[in-house]
Symmetry: C2
Subunit: 618 residues, 2 copies
C-alpha cells in the first residue's frame, strides 16, 4: 500500500483549514414548533396573514362611534343605547348606529359601524343605556387588523436561531412547521480490543478498560449542536473495523474515530481513505493531538482523534467542535475567557503549540490564579478537574510564576470552584464537601497537600495524622478518625494487631506514604520495633505488602474483599460500610488548614461554618 | 363563594417570595450516560473501582526491570532477552526475570516482575534481543492501578451539572446510570374560546386568533430546565376548565395558566384553589403583570399568567423562570447585562415597577443606545423585536434621553443586531436583508422611518416614493419598483387606471399614509383631479375604500384574493408572485439613507456592499 507521506507536522492553522474545507453540513429538517427552540432557520419566513386578523377590542367595555362621545366627561356623560354584546371568539351580528353602543369583551371583533371603544371603567349603566364619561377619538382602544404583523411582512430571516420569543411570533402567524438546518450527524467509532462500554463488566486482569471517548465525544458533539451516533466498538480485527467505518461514512456527515493507535487500525483507516476518499493531513504540531488525521471517507468528512481521552477531548474541542457549530448554524462560541496569573512556573518547550488544561482559583484579593492540571497523558480525570485551557505558543519555553495568561473556559457556563482543597482522602470530609456550593477537592495525600498549601495555590489543605513540621497555616477545625486493620468478616485469621502481620503469613495492603494513615502506621511500626528491640526495617520487611501503597482510603479494603489481601490499612468507618472486620490501632486527628490570605473567601467561610457543626456526624 | 381578598398589589419581592415558598421540585430520575449531559446530579458518586484497574504501559515499548537498565545510554545499551509480547486487552502470562524484557503495547497490562518500561524509540532489536539505549527508574512510563482515580475517592459531588468532561470521568468509572434531579414538570393551560393552535385554520370573522402563549411559554420552560406539558385548550366552559386544571395539577409540579382574563375563568381558578389549595397572592405591582395569581392547586404549585403574550412572557421570565431553574438545580442565570444610554426620553410614572422591553443598537462611536419596544399590550411581536428588559423602579417617572440604563438580555447568547433599519416594507429589501448577518428591520413606513432616522436611533431608513422634505442623511443606494393596481386574474373588471376606481363601482384597498406607495398614489390622485378640473377630495370620496390603509406591502393584494376587494394598491412583483393581474401606474424609487455617524458600522457597510451588487435582482 502506498501511503501518502506527511513529512512535517501541519500547523494548528492548517489543521483548522483542512477541517473547514470539508463539508459537515446536514440538509434541512422540518420541525414542529414544539421542537423548534434553539434550531436555526434556513429560509426567511414572511407573514402569510394579518395579526390580529380583525379589528380587535383591546379592553372590556363598549364599542361605539367616537363622534357620539365628543364633549362627554365625568360630569356630563354621553348616553348611548346598548343594543347587543360581543364576546371573544364570536362573530358580531350587529351594526352600531348613531347613538348606539355594544358591550364588548377584550379580544372580541369590533362590530361594523363602531370605530372606537370605551373601557368599562369610564362608564356606568342605567336602564339598558350606558353613560360614557369620557370622549374618545376614532381608533381608541382598538387594535386594527395587521397592526401587530401585516401579511407579507418579513417575520424571521434565514440564520435566525429560534428563541422562545421567535416561537411567539411564529405562533401568532399560525406557523407550526419550520424549515431548520439539520444537525450535522456525527458518527463515533472507538477502536481497541481492550475497550468495554460503561455499564458492562470490565476484566482488569486482561487489561480491559472502560471506553471513555465514545460517550464523552458524543456529549461534546451534542454541546456543539451535532447529533451523535455511537457505533459498536471496532476491535482490532481489520475486516470488522472497515465495515463499521464504511457504515458510519454512509450514514453520517462526519466520522470521528478514536483509539486507533495500533498499527493495524491506522492501516485500515488509511486503506479506506485511499480507496474512497482523500487524506488531507496526518499529524499536527500541537500537544496533545499530534497523531490527528483529517480527510474524507467516501462522502463523509473524517477526523481521527488520538486515543487517550484527554488528548481526544482537547483535539475535539480545539479543531472539531468549531466546525460542527458552524455546520449547525450556531454562532461561533464567544468562548468565555478569564484572565489570570500563573500560580507557579510551568516549563514546556517541545516546539509544538500546547493546549494546557488548567484550573483556576481566586486568591484572597479576588485575583484569579491559574494552575496546570496534568496527571499524564493516560489520565482520564484531568479534564473533570480543569476549568479551561491555556494555549501556549510553540515558541514559549516556560511560563513564569505570576505571568498573565488567558484561560478559555470549557464552556461559557463553567463556574470556577468556590473552594479549592487538597490533601487527605477521608469519608467525613467527603460528606462535608457535599454540603458546600461547588467545591473542588484533590486528594493528593496529607503531606503533598500541606506542601501545595505552602506554595500558595489551594485555599485549604486537609491533613491527617502527625505533622512532619510546623505550619504557618490557620487551623479551621477538624475531627478524629479511628484507624486500624480491616480484614474479612468475622476476622477468620484472628488478627489482633500489627504483630500478627509480622509474625503470621498474611498478605497486607498499605496506603501510599503520602497518606496520614500511613504516617500513623509508621509510628506504630517504630513502637513495635522498640518493644521488640529490633530495627524498624526488620518489622517492615516481615510484613508482606508493606511497601505496596494505594492512593485512596477505600482501595486497600477492596483488595481484601477481592481476596487479594488478608488485611488492609483503613478506617473503622470503611470497615462498617463495607461489612469488614476491624482491628483498631488507634485514632488520629484530621485537621483542616487554610491559607491565611484566604480566610475571607466565601468557600473557606462556608467550610469553617460546616466544620463548626459537628463534622464527624455521619 | 367567599373570595380571599387582596386589597393591595403585592410588591415584586413579595411575588418572588410567594413563588419561592412553593415547592416546584420533581423527584429523582435515573438516566443513562448518553442522556446525562446537562443534568444535575442528586447524590455524590464515589469511585467503585481503580482507574486504571491494573498497572498499565503508557507507551509502545518493552517492559523490564529498571535495575537492568541502570547505566545504559546511546553508546552503551543494555541488552535484554525478549521473552514474549503483551498487547492491550490481553492477560499477560509471563514473568519478567532478570535480564529479560517483554514487548508491550500502549495500554497493555504490565507483566509481573517488570517495574518499568522503555519506549520503543529508545531501543533497537538484534537477534531476539532488545538493546535499551537509556536507563529508566522503577515506575517510569507505567501508570499504576488507581493512579488516575482510586476506588473510594469522591468522584462527583451532588449538584454537579454534568459536562462532557464529567461524562468522561463517569465513563472511566464504568458508571452508566446516574441519579439526577428530575426536571420540574410544568403544565401549561391556555384558556379562551377564541384560541386556535398554530397549524390549524383560524376564522378571523369569529375573532379567532392563534394561541401564542402555549408554545412560547413551553419553550421558556424548557430554556429554564423544566419539562413542558401542553394541555388541550380550556374554552370558557367551566366544567371542562376545572377538569383540565385538576388533571394538570395531578400530573405536574407546577401549573401555569394564561389567558384567563374572562370573569368565568377567574371564577373557576378561584374555586379549584379554594377547594383544594391555597391562594397566596393576587395582583402584583408590575407593568405588565398586574393580574398575576400565585397559589397551590391540590399538590401542585400554581401561577396564573396574564393573557396577553408580551405580558405573559415578561411575568414568566421575571418571576417563574428563576424558580424553575432553581428547582431544576441549574445555577442562577448570570443574566448577561449590557449597559447603555436611553436613545430617547421615555415617560412612565404609574407607580408600578415597569418591565420595559428594549432593543439595543450600537452608535457610531461603538456606544450602546437603548430604545423601548412597545407596540401596545395586545401585540405579540414586540418581544421578537427586543433584546432584553430594563427594570424601571415604581418611583421613576421618566427616563431622560442619554440616561444610563442596564439592559438584562433575554438570554446570555442574545446577539444584538448588526444593523437596525426602519422604513418602507419592500420585497427587494427583504431579499437584501437575507444576505446580511443578523439585521433587524422595522417596517414602520417611509415617512416614520425618515423621522426616526433624524431622531438618531436606527442606522438606516428605507424610503419609497417622493420625499416630503430634504434630508441630511447619506444615501447608500437604491432601486426602482413598479407600482399600480392589483386585481383578479384576467382583470375581469377591465380596470385600466385610477379613473376606473373613481367612475366604476369597485371596492379598493389602500396602503397606510405612512407608505411610499400611498404617497405616489396621492400624487396620481392630484394629477387626475387637475385633469378633470375637480378637487382632490372629490376624487378620493369617489373611490370606495380609499381611506382604508393597510400596513404591509402584500396586505391589500390579499384582500383581493379573499374577494374582499376588487382592486388593491401594490407592486408588480407582488402581482406576479400571487398570480394577480397588474395595472401599472408608474414606478418609484426606493432609497436607503444612513445616519452619517454610522457609515463605518459593519452592518451599514455590509448593506452598502449588497446595494452595489444589483439589489433589484430577484
Amino acid at each position: 500500500m502506498d501511503r501518502k507521506e506527511f513529512r512535517d507536522l501541519a500547523s494548528p492553522e492548517e489543521a483548522r483549514e483542512a477541517i473547514h474545507s470539508l463539508s459537515l453540513e446536514g440538509g434541512v429538517d422540518r420541525v414542529s414548533l414544539s421542537e423548534a427552540r434553539g434550531r436555526v432557520l434556513v429560509a426567511r419566513l414572511d407573514a402569510e396573514l394579518d395579526v390580529p386578523g380583525f379589528d380587535r377590542a383591546s379592553l372590556d367595555g363598549y364599542a361605539l362611534r367616537a363622534r357620539d362621545t365628543f364633549g362627554a366627561d365625568e360630569a356630563d356623560p354621553a348616553t348611548l343605547e346598548v343594543t347587543d354584546e360581543v364576546h371573544a371568539g364570536e362573530k358580531p351580528d350587529v351594526n352600531v348606529g348613531e347613538g348606539e353602543a355594544v358591550e364588548i369583551s377584550t379580544g372580541a371583533v369590533m362590530p361594523s359601524g363602531a370605530d372606537a371603544m370605551v373601557p368599562v371603567e369610564r362608564t356606568d349603566t342605567a336602564d339598558g343605556d350606558v353613560l360614557v364619561r369620557t370622549s374618545v377619538a376614532p381608533g381608541d382602544n382598538v387594535m386594527f387588523a395587521g397592526a401587530d404583523v401585516a401579511a407579507g411582512e418579513r417575520a424571521l430571516g434565514p440564520g435566525t436561531r429560534i428563541t422562545p420569543r421567535d416561537i411567539g411570533l411564529l405562533s401568532a402567524l399560525g406557523i407550526d412547521d419550520v424549515p431548520v438546518r439539520a444537525n450535522p450527524k456525527v458518527g463515533i467509532v472507538s477502536t481497541g480490543d481492550e475497550l468495554v462500554r460503561p455499564g458492562e463488566d470490565v476484566d482488569s486482569e486482561r487489561g480491559e478498560i472502560y471506553d471513555v471517548n465514545s460517550y464523552t465525544i458524543a456529549a461534546g458533539v451534542e454541546d456543539a449542536g451535532g447529533e451523535a451516533v455511537l457505533y459498536p466498538h471496532a476491535g482490532d480485527e481489520q475486516a470488522e473495523m472497515e465495515r463499521i467505518l464504511r457504515e458510519a461514512a454512509e450514514e453520517c456527515d462526519l466520522v470521528l474515530s478514536s483509539g486507533s493507535t495500533s498499527a493495524s487500525a491506522v492501516d485500515v483507516i488509511y486503506r479506506v481513505i485511499e480507496e474512497q476518499g482523500e487524506l488531507l493531513l496526518h499529524g499536527v504540531g500541537v500537544k496533545p493531538g499530534k497523531p490527528m488525521l483529517v480527510g474524507r471517507l467516501e462522502d463523509s468528512a473524517y477526523v481521527g482523534l488520538p486515543g487517550y481521552p484527554v488528548s481526544a477531548m482537547m483535539v475535539f474541542r480545539t479543531f472539531v467542535a468549531p466546525a460542527i457549530r458552524e455546520a449547525a448554524g450556531l454562532p461561533e462560541t464567544e468562548t468565555a475567557t478569564v484572565g489570570g496569573r500563573m500560580a507557579r512556573q510551568e516549563r514546556y518547550g517541545e516546539g509544538r503549540m500546547r493546549l494546557m488544561p488548567v484550573g483556576v482559583v481566586t486568591d484572597g484579593d479576588g485575583e484569579t490564579l491559574v494552575y496546570p492540571v496534568d496527571k499524564g497523558s493516560g489520565a482520564t480525570t484531568s479534564l473533570a478537574e480543569a476549568d479551561g485551557v491555556v494555549e501556549v505558543d510553540a515558541e514559549t519555553d516556560y511560563l513564569e510564576t505570576g505571568e498573565s495568561v488567558t484561560v478559555s473556559l470549557f464552556s461559557p457556563d463553567v463556574r470556577p470552584p468556590t473552594l479549592l482543597g487538597v490533601g487527605e482522602d477521608d469519608p467525613t470530609l467527603n460528606r462535608l464537601l457535599d454540603g458546600l456550593e461547588n467545591p473542588r477537592y484533590l486528594s493528593v495525600g496529607s503531606r503533598p497537600g500541606l506542601r501545595r498549601l505552602r506554595e500558595g495555590v489551594p485555599d485549604v489543605a486537609v491533613v491527617a495524622g502527625p505533622l512532619d513540621r510546623d505550619t504557618d497555616a490557620d487551623e479551621l477545625g477538624g475531627w478524629e478518625r479511628e484507624w486500624g486493620l480491616l480484614t474479612r468478616p468475622g476476622n477468620p485469621d484472628r488478627i489482633e494487631g500489627l504483630a500478627d502481620l509480622v509474625d503470621d503469613d498474611l498478605r497486607f495492603v498499605n496506603r501510599t506514604t503520602d497518606s496520614g494513615l500511613r504516617s500513623s502506621l509508621g509510628n506504630a511500626v517504630v513502637d513495635l520495633a522498640d518493644d521488640r528491640g529490633v530495627e524498624r526495617r526488620d518489622i517492615v520487611d516481615s510484613i508482606e505488602g508493606f511497601d505496596l501503597g494505594l492512593r485512596a482510603h477505600e482501595s486497600p479494603a477492596r483488595k481484601v474483599i477481592a481476596d487479594e489481601a488478608d488485611a488492609a490499612l483503613g478506617l473503622r468507618e470503611t470497615a462498617d460500610r463495607l461489612d469488614l472486620a476491624f482491628v483498631s490501632l488507634g485514632s488520629q486527628p484530621v485537621r483542616v488548614f487554610a491559607n491565611p490570605d484566604r480566610r475571607k473567601k466565601r468557600g473557606v467561610r462556608e467550610l469553617e461554618a460546616a466544620l463548626e457543626e459537628r463534622p464527624d456526624a455521619s
